[in-house]
């Protein structure tokens, strides 16, 4: 809002001296920068290297939330009407909120989404549905595995950003920390609901986590 007001003021006073316009432009640029800092989650990048790094992080996070969304959708398709339905629905709603936030950030910062989205769409749904077909414990085991992978991934990102410059990335760190805490909660919910009782828990969990690691690796690049 204040940037719009400032711009109107600048246009008004265009008939005045060039010095005033220059001042106006300077403070407009400053305000724009401050406002994009104040309302945006990502600081305007200083060079192309930083931009590349931040965009890569956002891209893979967006892909992750999109995939998690689809996994819960698959689980709900199978177990929606059972008694675990409400728990899965609750976790799914939280993931939807995460995805919305990342959609916002990507659109604001002109980040390219990963090209593999259609693939994650199908793969996520199939993973969710097939783990739910193993029963409620299977679905919970899948949740535990995926949420553990995502938590570790977010922790890595937090570590990277803290190493680089915690002050510069405060808002982004806040968002990632909040989402990481949500995912840990989902992980704990999964454990509470007898995830470990599924036969072949160790195998299932490690297979899914390997898949998640591969997905993260690919989505960072493509």
């Amino acid at each position: 809002m204040q940037t719009a007001a400032l711009r109107v003021f600048c246009h008004w006073s265009q008939s005045n001296s060039t010095a005033m316009i220059r001042q106006c432009l300077k403070c407009r640029a400053l305000t724009l920068q401050q406002s994009s800092r104040a309302y945006g989650v990502i600081p305007p990048p200083r060079d192309s290297e930083e931009k590349e790094m931040v965009h890569r992080m956002l891209r893979v996070d967006h892909a992750g939330e999109y995939g998690a969304n689809r996994i819960y959708a698959g689980q709900m398709a199978v177990l929606g009407r059972s008694k675990t339905g409400p728990f899965i629905q609750e976790m799914w709603d939280q993931e939807k909120k995460h995805l919305e936030k990342f959609n916002e950030i990507l659109a604001e910062n002109r980040v390219r989404p990963t090209a593999l989205l259609p693939f994650w769409n199908i793969a996520g749904f199939v993973l969710g549905a097939s783990s739910a077909l193993l029963g409620k414990e299977g679905a919970m085991a899948c949740t535990v595995a995926v949420e553990e992978s995502i938590t570790e991934h977010y922790n890595n990102q937090i570590r990277t950003l803290m190493e680089k410059d915690p002050e510069r990335y405060t808002e982004l760190l806040q968002v990632i920390k909040e989402f990481r805490d949500d995912e840990m909660e989902h992980h704990d919910t999964g454990l509470e609901h007898d995830a470990e009782n599924v036969p072949g828990y160790w195998l299932l969990k490690n297979a899914i986590q390997l898949g998640c690691k591969a997905a993260i690796y690919i989505s960072q690049r493509i």
Binding site: A4, R7, L106, A107, R110, R112, A115, L117
Partner: protein, 328 residues
Amino acid sequence: YCCLISSMQSGYSLPTSVVAAPTTTNPQCGSLRRGFHCAVLRLQDESKSDKPPSSTSSSTTYHEHYQAHSAEQDAAASASDPAFYKIYQDQSGEQDEEYETEEQLQARILTAALEFVPLHGWSMEAIAAGAESLGLSSASTGMFEKGSGDLVLHFIAQCNAQLTEILAEQHNQVQLGQAEPKKTADFIRDAVETRLRMYIPYIEIWPQAMSLLLLPHNIPDSLKHLSTLMDDIWYYAGDRSTDMNWYTKRAALTGIYNTTELVMIQDSSPDFQDTWTFLDNRIQDVVNMATTAKQVQSTGEAVVQGLMGAAVTVSLLSYIHHLNSLFS
């Protein structure tokens, strides 16, 4: 040469003892130091003179001097050493009115060379003529590794920057409420037309430029410029998608843009009317396809609903029939 640099930073007031160079066995560093030393002395002379040297003349004399020197030196330690200029650029800060980076110099030469393109085509002759028009030696074409490809890429980057400026200005106007937002198809049409009109002064020799861009060493850069252009146009058209649409929209626009460009180079109608008509039709095609896709999707959904309804009805009817047969 770090001490030389730090003394440069302190406002060109160079003590004569600056000649005490750091001991180093690196031969590349040694030859750089020679060139640097001479440059330092030259700048020292210039700063001592009463008349402040104008920025262009001092930078050109600096470069001429440096180029004369680099002719003696090893190619590796020559003016194309980016690390040397980067140090200079980082630390000269506000004092770089007298000095410009190699990129800025290349940009100036290429901009000047554009005037000679109608005469010489997209070639090294045009670049040499441009360099000479700035008072530089025509041997400075050696700076451009990709040759005439550099000239074309520079022109394209310039056109893209101009278009982005125009689009940003339009965007501002809409934000301020001074202009009505255009419909997407119209916006795209105007953006592509504006951008292609920038080729009109060079349209006779544009096929040569296009063929230069297809050379293997120019392809990565030309693709990068093209993708940035498409992204910019869609961004200012209001696209904020974060799914597969991001890719399909840009791919569609790339197709429209490239085909229109091809039509333009062999268009002989007045003011390229045929080209703009072609552009209109292509955009209309894409819009129609998108509308059709939406219609197909909603039709498909309606059909699925209908089928499910029919299935439920049939099963209920057969159940009722079964009950009837049981109780009658």
